[in-house]
């Protein structure tokens, strides 16, 4: 018996879009932490 999940083209497209969104969110978080760090260093140290 074939247990793999067959996706319709629409579901496939939605999955691609969801994965892209997760990827972009992670990249944005990385960029944000980088910018916060730069800002804190510019303001004289990374202690909060």
């Amino acid at each position: 018996m074939d247990e793999s999940v067959k996706l319709t083209p629409e579901q496939e497209k939605a999955r691609k879009q969801r994965n892209l969104l997760i990827g972009l969110s992670v990249a944005a978080f990385v960029a944000l932490v980088f910018l916060i760090t730069l800002s804190k260093l510019a303001n004289g140290g990374i202690a909060p």
């Binding site: 999940v5 939605a14 879009q17 969104l21 944000l32 909060p48």
Partner: protein, 302 residues
């Protein structure tokens, strides 16, 4: 074994996940937080300011997702909420929980990184208060649900203030008090129009438990508290001429509309005409709060 058909075979898009974050509540949070940040003393740093307000927005979104996860059963029963992503079947319930928990952690971490422990702790408190105290406990057990739960929606300007200054003072707490006392008359006006939904879903909103008349009177009493309270920032020096004018005129109109509600038969199934004062009160309450905070913002920008 994980059933992949649940998580893979569906057409949920980015818009569905965004809807889980309650974007309209989020926009109010961002706006009041922005005002709290700009109004707080000190120069501030725009990157840290942006990160703090983003953290607040994500925290609010996390609360929204957790609320939709827990409330999926009652959301499915009410016409106002049954098109939400979970009751409509577009997003599995478990994913809203995952999204809510993940966003809670990321938002509090970001706040700690950008603004330090006080703002991060306040944000964590707000998320827990909304998701656990309001959603899981008060909402289904007492008619005072939105009165106490409103604290979560009221805190953002103070969190933003703490993010910029690292401390709290009387001024941001007055802003919190304004939103806190504004929430019940705002929400009760809506619930007069939708009380049948709440009754059907067995949610103890005030019109359901105490009746329409008691709700209309409560709206008026809270309006009498909000209007003078909204003038208080003038006395502490936070608000100036534009704010003083906005809060005086806006407050008078708020009380006047609340009085119209109090003397109406709104929420008694007497038709759209009888309900009109409550509908006007609800619409105006949004404009009123927006105008108050916009006035503070304008005074800082010009």
């Amino acid at each position: 074994m994980v059933d992949l058909s649940v998580t893979e075979a569906r057409t949920a898009t980015a818009a569905d996940y965004f809807a889980l974050l309650k974007p309209r509540v989020m926009s109010l949070v961002v706006f009041t937080a922005l005002v709290g940040y700009v109004a707080a003393p000190g120069a501030g740093d725009w990157v840290l300011g942006f990160a703090s307000i983003l953290a607040l927005a994500l925290g609010a979104g996390a609360s929204g997702a957790l609320n939709m996860w827990y409330d999926a059963d009652i959301d499915a029963l009410m016409s106002r909420t049954k098109a939400r992503p979970i009751p409509s079947g577009r997003v599995p319930k478990e994913e809203a929980l995952t999204l809510g928990v993940a966003l809670s952690i990321f938002s509090v971490l970001t706040m700690q990184l950008a603004a330090g422990p006080l703002a991060a702790a306040l944000l964590a408190f707000t998320i827990v208060f909304y998701a656990v105290v309001y959603t899981m406990w008060l909402k289904r057990s007492t008619a005072q649900n939105i009165v106490i739960g409103g604290l979560a929606g009221a805190l953002p300007p103070a969190i933003a203030w703490a993010a910029k200054t690292g401390s709290l003072s009387l001024e941001p707490l007055i802003l919190v008090a304004i939103i806190f006392f504004w929430t019940p008359p705002h929400f009760w006006s809506l619930s007069l129009l939708t009380r049948r939904d709440y009754a059907a879903a067995d949610v103890p909103m005030l019109p359901v438990t105490a009746g329409a008349r008691a709700t209309r009177l409560s709206i008026f009493v809270y309006a009498l508290i909000v209007a003078p309270l909204a003038f208080a920032p003038v006395l502490t020096g936070l608000g100036h001429t534009i704010y003083a004018a906005t809060s005086s005129l806006g407050g008078l109109a708020f009380v006047a509309l609340a009085a119209r509600v109090a003397f109406s038969r709104a929420g008694e199934d007497m038709g759209a005409k009888a309900d009109a004062p409550a509908r006007r009160m609800f619409a105006y309450s949004i404009l009123y709060l927006f105008a108050l905070f916009a006035a503070l913002l304008i005074e800082r920008l010009v």
